[in-house]
């Protein structure tokens, strides 16, 4: 036994202690417990993975649901895929926990924040360790809950609670698909256990598998913020920045990718669904990248970047390069967490300012933040030998194998990505300071995690995930193609160059371009009016339908009417019947006798007891 349960149980213990008793603890005690539990969990995960061979470790704890022949156990399993996820979640998670100590130092609800973070870790690790779909679903829902709690952490802010609601509701749509997929799996396979399901996949008809895979994809789209269910993620930036880094960049949003990769046997036997994954990923990547071009809020830029990068992962998975997707998942966790944490550090330095138009020239004032953030920016732009280069490259090569036009779209997107990230960098750190606050460098407890992540962003690409997962996934990558690599790297460099030209060399160019493009710019600036379209097409009809039909018609008219009618009828009846309530026992007894006689008569009339 490897005692896998310890890995999620440690953060859960931290959650219980902090959640129940944290109010009375000092801050030091709270963050010792929170960080300590996650760090211990990381250590235990590391120990488990070091002893991991080619085979997976499976542990059965108890039977959760037993109904006839159907049974679901509380099972955990670790294989090589899980190992990657485990390390990313616990490793990046620990760093972000440390960072949060500094970032949240002056916030109210300190213990509550760390309790939520620990709870999130518990659910995320459950999700990753799950050996069947139901346990995975528990984690899946749990991280959704924690995401909701943490987005709305500043619950006195209306926009924050709204964003939390939005995330929760949009995720429900995805979860609905996931639930349907699970039901279909139960119906067709009679079990939810990964091992059994994947073993018998080849014997099932393709139509069924395609339906299941599509429904799973709906779930993955919701969780991983893919088109058309991506809308919640940018809004989710209302939460504290460590939350954005941990949940909405590094871990939770990658759960969709993980789930699709986990279910790869199903997808391999449902090629059209796999194709759909690729299309959605590619479209989302390009679509979100264009939106990112015109955003002024630093966190929003990175949020759309996250959506876009998740699209890349879907593209990788969808083109059959599962290991490339997971590879990108890991490197993305490093540099995107770093981007967010760095942005948080900037925001922290400016005491809450998020608009890039009010920044500038911060390079000298907060050098640690600048340099670490620069590492991440280079990494995401795909410049070799930084982490992003290897994984993005792997995906693009796989896309070229699949369909060359996908490669080209991906490459252009890579250029766009490099452009907007560096746009953000230049607007923030170069030029003249345009704000009013007095910037100050963050404390060491924040900069140290930044440094650690920067190192990972630089060298993370040398952790060769495709090699590690070589035997796990069917091989899909073709031979290295130097020209393809060169083109994509060039696209990134061109993006950086344009950004440099537009925001450093001739700062006026950007404005003139945006004004000359006019309508197109407004379209992009307003995120293609997707939120407004959803609002008009889905939300408004739903709300007004609920109001008119369900509230006024059903609730007030039918249900309330029936209830009130019953009430008034019984009141009237009671007014008459109360005359029987004379308080005189003997008259009561007379009526009882009367009733008994009626009963006897009825029995006799319907033929008696025989």
């Amino acid at each position: 036994m490897h005692q896998l349960w310890l890995i999620p149980a440690l953060p859960f213990a931290g959650f219980l202690i902090n959640g129940i008793l944290g109010r009375r603890f000092s801050k030091a005690a709270v963050n010792t417990i929170a960080v300590g539990s996650v760090a211990l969990s990381f250590v235990w995960a590391l120990k488990t993975i070091l002893s991991l061979g080619e085979d997976r470790i499976f542990e059965h704890y108890f039977n959760w649901i037993v109904a006839g022949g159907f049974q679901v156990g509380c099972d955990f399993a670790v294989d090589r895929l899980t190992a990657v996820m485990l390390l990313v979640v616990t490793g990046v998670g620990s760093l972000i926990h440390v960072y949060s100590i500094g970032y949240m130092a002056h916030e109210g609800g300190y213990y509550r924040f760390f309790a939520y973070l620990n709870l999130f870790m518990f659910f995320m690790l459950t999700l990753v360790l799950a050996a069947n779909y139901l346990v995975l679903f528990v984690g899946w829902e749990g991280v959704g809950l924690c995401s909701y709690l943490l987005i709305g952490f500043w619950f006195h802010k209306k926009s924050a609670t709204n964003a939390g609601n939005k995330a929760f509701i949009v995720n429900r749509i995805g979860d609905f698909g996931f639930s349907l997929a699970m039901l279909l799996i139960v119906v067709n396979f009679g079990t939810l256990d990964f091992g059994v399901v994947f073993h018998v996949v080849p014997s099932k008809p393709e139509a069924v598998l395609t339906t299941i895979a599509m429904l799973l994809l709906v779930g993955a789209c919701g969780k991983s913020a893919q088109f058309p269910l991506y809308v919640w993620l940018p809004d989710a930036m209302e939460g504290p920045t460590p939350v954005s880094a941990l949940i909405h960049a590094a871990t939770m949003v990658t759960a969709g990718v993980y789930m699709v990769a986990r279910s790869f046997p199903i997808y391999l036997h449902a090629p059209s669904a796999l194709e759909m994954v690729a299309y959605i990923g590619l479209f989302t990547a390009a679509f979100a990248a264009t939106i990112g071009l015109a955003q002024n809020d630093i966190k929003k830029v990175f949020a759309y970047s996250t959506v876009s990068q998740l699209g890349y992962m879907f593209l990788g998975v969808g083109t059959g390069a599962f290991s490339a997707g997971i590879y990108h998942l890991m490197t993305h966790a490093f540099f995107k967490a770093l981007l967010f944490l760095g942005a948080g550090s900037v925001i922290h330095a400016l005491s809450g300012e998020q608009d890039m138009r009010n920044m500038g020239g911060l390079r000298k004032k907060i050098p640690w933040t600048f340099w670490t953030l620069m590492m991440a920016a280079i990494a995401i732009s795909g410049v070799p030998p930084f982490a992003g280069f290897f994984s993005k490259d792997a995906i693009l090569v796989a896309a070229y194998q699949h369909a060359p036009w996908m490669y080209w779209v991906g490459t252009i997107t890579a250029g766009l990505t490099a452009f907007y990230v560096f746009r953000a960098m230049f607007l923030t750190f170069f030029g003249e300071y345009r704000g009013h606050e007095h910037p100050h460098e963050s404390p060491a407890v924040m900069t140290l995690p930044l440094a650690a992540l920067a190192v990972l962003s630089v060298v993370g690409g040398f952790i060769k995930i495709p090699v590690w997962l070589e035997k796990f996934f069917p091989a899909a990558e073709g031979p290295e193609n130097f020209s393809l690599v060169a083109i994509s790297v060039a696209a990134g460099l061109i993006g950086i160059g344009i950004a440099y030209f537009m925001y450093i060399v001739k700062p006026g160019v950007a404005d003139s371009i945006s004004s000359s493009l006019g309508g197109l710019y407004r379209l992009v600036y307003n995120k293609y009016f997707v939120d407004e379209i959803y609002d008009a097409a889905v939300v408004k009809p739903l709300v007004s339908g609920s109001r008119v039909v369900l509230w006024r018609g059903m609730d007030a008219g039918l249900i309330d009417g029936a209830v009130n009618g019953v009430g008034s009828t019984s009141q009237g009846l009671g007014g008459w019947l109360k005359l029987f309530q004379s308080g005189n026992i003997r008259s009561y007894a007379t009526w009882v006798l009367f009733g008994a006689i009626i009963l006897l008569l009825t029995l006799g009339l319907i033929g008696g007891v025989r």
Partner: protein, 165 residues
């Protein structure tokens, strides 16, 4: 012999029961009720329920009725008032009773035609052994529940009878 015994004790029971109803003094009613219970105990014996007959005497006549007599003596209850106020009971009660009795007799005659003669000694199932076996195997749960009920009754009676209530 059985018929004579039945008639003697049935008539005794009915007379005593009538006495329970018509006597104005509670203690006379109580004594009559003891008479009914004793007569019923004999009838139980005739029906082969020897354990139950003894339980009837011990529990009902020996304990429950002693409590009644005790309370009557404690409260020094006298004869009751002549007129009450319940018009419903006065007006409806008697006709309803007649109807009830008639109906009950009719159904008994209809469903149980009198072809089962009751002979003393033909039913051996009422011994203490049989009752005990049934009580502690088949009816164990009801038995235990009843003991809980009695415990509750004890607590309730003690609480109710406290001085400060």
């Amino acid at each position: 012999m059985d018929v004579i015994l039945f008639l003697v004790f049935a008539i005794a029971a009915v007379v005593c029961a009538v006495n329970v109803v018509v006597q104005t003094h509670p203690i006379s009613s109580a004594i009559s009720l003891i008479g009914v219970m004793a007569s019923l105990a004999v009838l139980y014996l005739l029906l082969g329920a020897e354990f139950l007959a003894m339980a009837q005497i011990i529990v009902y006549a020996g304990a429950v009725m002693v409590l009644f007599v005790f309370v009557i003596m404690l409260l020094n209850a006298g004869s009751e008032a002549k007129r009450g106020r319940s018009l419903t009971a006065q007006l409806l009660g008697f006709p309803l009773l007649i109807v009830f009795l008639a109906l009950a007799s009719y159904f008994i005659q209809r469903f149980y035609p009198g072809n089962t003669p009751v002979l003393f000694g033909t039913f051996k199932g009422g011994t203490a052994q049989m009752i005990g076996r049934a009580l502690f195997t088949q009816y164990l749960l009801p038995f235990e529940v009843t003991s809980v009920l009695i415990l509750i009754a004890i607590v309730g009676a003690v609480v109710l009878a406290r001085k400060e209530l």
